[in-house]
């Protein structure tokens, strides 16, 4: 089975923080999370813990819109960072 670079929780949290700081766009962050998910699905799913998988799926939905706003507001992203996702 091929190796896949599974992101650590710290890496995902850093990404979420970058979105909050405005240094990374939501679209870029969601695309990255989606691509990582796809790679993991194709290569080595066993490498990811369910909680990490859940966090990755949340990150992949960062750019989901609700009307003019985003489904996940900044307070929600802070909750994820603090492990309340």
């Amino acid at each position: 089975m091929a190796e896949v670079a599974v992101p650590t929780r710290e890496e995902i949290v850093a990404l979420l923080q970058a979105v909050l700081d405005g240094t990374t766009s939501r679209t870029a962050a969601a695309e990255w999370a989606s691509e990582v998910q796809e790679e993991i699905e194709e290569l080595d799913h066993d490498a990811v813990e369910p909680k990490m998988w859940h966090l990755l799926r949340l990150a992949a939905s960062l750019d989901v819109k609700s009307g003019d706003a985003y489904l996940h507001d900044e307070a929600t992203i802070r909750d994820w960072i603090e492990g309340r996702g």
Partner: protein
């Protein structure tokens, strides 16, 4: 709406010579024979007239008068007989009416002739609904969808004597080839705008394609509200989500889908989605333009069909909603995923209310008042139960070399627990019944519980 295609981005109200607070006359033609509504089965003309006046008010028209006009035989030139045209003409002049709304589909010729006879703007039901949608659309996708519907409607209504579009467009008028009739030029100009609009819409959808993909991955079930316009969907949305979405007593107050994440009392999280309401005789152009949006909403794990139980035409409205769902090819698919919500019971007299509550018990439905909150706890309990039923947890024992099956479970279900042991893993996962069947068939495995039962049977 019935004028020329507009050169600005918003082709609606202002560009057509109609203004907010214009004095309006609303007419509902009641035909003895001839044109009938596809969806209106059995509706009273009074109810239809009231709804049409509500539609006119929805774009801030000042409805001065509204009446039912009985038509024995529709006249090809003016719809109404000459006596009716004359009588209404006097009323229009006397009341200084600026817009006449005719709650039916009228031909371009009829429209033109009535506008000439009455010296006022005339608009039909489809045109009016398109105006409302044009006003309400907030997102760029919504605006493009409405514009596309409006252009398709305009194209179908081009007649020989129409305004010269290329002059309004401000062009030099040399685009048309020699011998090209005005009608052909008008048609070509609209076609060009339709092509441009579709291209823009594709661009927006490409971006939203990512959203849709992401949304599918949102690790929560989606519960969508559907129903007739003004059934109280947004009020219920606010009640359940505790948010401040516009919940006006207004037809089509909501157009662009709105979503909120909420936590149910059992601790599970869901995405609640509010969307555009349906209406009888929803213009086909709009259904086509909004098809993708509607289908996306209807992909939800659970649908709440919110109904205004206090409305005298509640059954007709239900039939209209079901007809639109059926036209989208979704009617039969929704049975198990649908909860019928009888809203506005606070507006019902005590006796009728008791009967309704009894009916709700027999018929799988829940009676509520989104305004007062009555019945909402029961609704939430039903949502929880339905979601539990639709996504039952099951445990699977998978060997370490069954990576594809493991991946499939992570992709399609919610993995609740994973225990790695020598040679295999045990995963407890919540899956929908369809996915359970697909998974077991595809990978030839059975849930541990079932497998243990089989083993016991095999060994006596």
């Amino acid at each position: 709406m019935t004028g020329s295609p507009h050169s600005n981005d918003r082709p609606m109200v202002d560009g057509d010579g109609m203004r907010h607070h214009d004095r309006a006359l609303v007419l509902h033609p009641s035909f003895k024979t001839g044109p009938r509504s596809v969806y209106s089965g059995g509706r009273s003309p009074e109810s239809r007239l009231e709804e049409a006046a509500g539609l006119a008010r929805a774009i801030d028209l000042n409805v001065i008068a509204a009446e039912i006009i009985r038509i024995n035989e529709p006249k090809p030139a003016t719809l109404l007989g000459s006596g009716g045209v004359e009588r209404l003409g006097a009323l229009i002049a006397e009341q200084e009416i600026a817009v006449v709304v005719i709650d039916a589909a009228i031909t371009p010729i009829q429209q033109r002739n009535l506008e000439r006879a009455w010296k006022t703007k005339v608009i039909d039901r489809t045109g009016l609904i398109l105006e409302i949608f044009g006003e309400r659309a907030r997102t760029s996708e919504g605006q493009l969808q409405v514009e596309l519907a409006a252009l398709s409607y305009q194209r179908s209504r081009l007649v020989r004597s129409w305004t010269h579009l290329e002059r309004q467009r401000g062009g030099f008028g040399f685009l048309g080839g020699p011998g090209e009739s005005q009608l052909e030029i008008d048609r070509r100009l609209i076609d060009e705008r339709i092509i441009r609009n579709k291209r823009d819409l594709e661009d927006v959808k490409r971006t939203r394609g990512l959203h849709r993909k992401a949304r599918r991955r949102v690790p929560y079930p989606v519960v969508a509200l559907v129903g007739y316009t003004n059934a109280g969907k947004s009020t219920l949305f606010n009640r359940l989500s505790g948010s401040g979405v516009l919940a006006a007593d207004l037809l089509f107050a909501t157009l662009d889908p709105t979503m909120r994440r909420i936590t149910l009392p059992d601790g599970h999280e869901i995405i609640l989605s509010d969307t555009v309401g349906f209406i009888s005789d929803l213009p086909t152009e709009l259904v086509a333009a909004f098809r993708a949006t509607l289908e996306e909403v209807l992909e939800a794990d659970l649908l709440l069909h919110v109904r205004d139980a206090s409305h005298p035409e509640a059954e007709g409205q239900k039939a209209d909603v079901e007809a639109v769902l059926a036209s989208l090819g979704l009617g039969e698919m929704l049975g198990e995923r649908m909860i019928e919500v009888l809203n506005k019971i606070d507006r019902i007299e005590p006796e009728a209310r008791e009967a309704l509550l009894e009916q709700a018990k027999r018929h799988p439905a829940v009676a509520i008042s989104a305004i007062s909150g009555e019945g909402c706890d029961q609704l939430i309990a039903i949502i929880e139960a339905k979601l539990r039923n639709t996504r039952q947890p099951a445990a699977y024992r998978l060997a370490h070399d069954q990576g594809a099956a493991t991946a499939w479970l992570y992709e399609h279900g919610e993995v609740l627990e994973r225990r790695d042991q020598e040679g295999h893993s045990e995963l407890t996962v919540r899956l929908s019944p369809e996915d359970t069947e697909r998974f077991e068939r595809r990978f030839g495995v059975a849930a541990i519980h079932d497998a243990d039962e089989e083993a016991k049977r095999d060994h006596g």
